[in-house]
Symmetry: C2
Subunit: 193 residues, 2 copies
């Protein structure tokens, strides 16, 4: 069941006892989002932090030219939010859309603040989670500075094969930072080897 997935995820990063774990999980509410629907749209204040239990999301932003740039994809067992918008309750920079029929567990701002006070370990939990996210983004940043589009594509499909197969060329290209036509050319070049 989906709460079990959340419990398991939490225990990777902090030690909560059974009672704390229960209190933590009780603060979350399930929500279903149909394919193509939005969980958050740019400019709106982000009212949740979410844990994906089914499906897949893309987290992206629109630039001044109306082009979409994907920050990350989130599938089962990933967290999604616009941290800046959520923690500071200010308009979001990011949009979050379901790529297929999906389910999430959501916590709101007041309840999360309450958890921080109630269970000291929760502070640590989110510190550690945020650190891990930062480390992987640092790695991705450097990969983007140092690698060619071919390499980044190959790394992505190797690292996230199950996500890769859910994505259109357009979506993946906008994560890799290239045009979808060029991604198509990379694919046919690789296929012909």
């Amino acid at each position: 069941m989906s709460i079990e997935l959340l419990k398991h995820n939490i225990l990777k990063n902090a030690q909560l006892d059974n009672k704390e774990l229960q209190t933590f999980c009780d603060a979350f509410h399930p929500k279903s989002i149909a394919k193509k629907q939005y969980l958050l749209t740019q400019g709106e204040i982000c009212k949740f932090e979410g844990f994906v239990t089914k499906g897949c999301f893309r987290v992206f932003t629109l630039d001044e030219d109306g082009k979409e740039h994907v920050l990350y994809f989130a599938t089962k067992d990933w967290w999604i939010t616009d941290i800046d918008s959520f923690t500071n309750q200010k308009p979001s920079f990011l949009t979050i859309q379901a790529l297929e029929d999906s389910e999430v567990l959501l916590i709101n701002h007041a309840d999360k603040e309450h958890l921080y006070e109630q269970i000291p370990q929760v502070e640590k939990l989110f510190r550690v989670m945020t650190q891990k996210t930062l480390v992987s983004l640092q790695r991705r940043m450097i990969a983007n500075l140092s690698q060619t589009a071919d390499d980044r594509y190959l790394n992505f499909i190797e690292k996230y094969p199950e996500i890769a197969q859910k994505l259109t060329n357009l979506q993946l290209a906008s994560y890799l930072g290239i045009s979808h036509e060029f991604l198509s050319k990379i694919r046919s070049k690789i296929a012909s080897k």
Copy 2:
């Protein structure tokens, strides 16, 4: 004095009372690093988290081709470490070098863990700091996906004018993800307008 700078920096992100603030600051030790010297080299286990009180550092990594890629520059009032190496006490991916004669306040791993236990607010402090770092890296990631090198250069010198003037073309180019020759061409193009 440099401890005052640290206190001021901390109070931006958490509420510690005077006694806690003193305990916190007492865990740090000053260190001077001469220009071009290393505070951390790739492969080594990072034994510190540092707060810059004077000078400037570059935090970079070497790729397989021996090319350097700058993750960030840190000047007065910035924090430096390889989080992954420091928190998990494993070999570092990053190298940290002084760009000029510099001074830092350092805390070691055991003392930081001790602070987390002694002062609950410290957990929050580092959670908030890490979140802010993550948000700005997310923005930079998207800027790198969506903007041209000219734009990124102009944004950098606008956002960090005092850092920009300390850097060589090589150093700045490796942060922007372009060759130093191309940066030189961007500069002369802009100057001629």
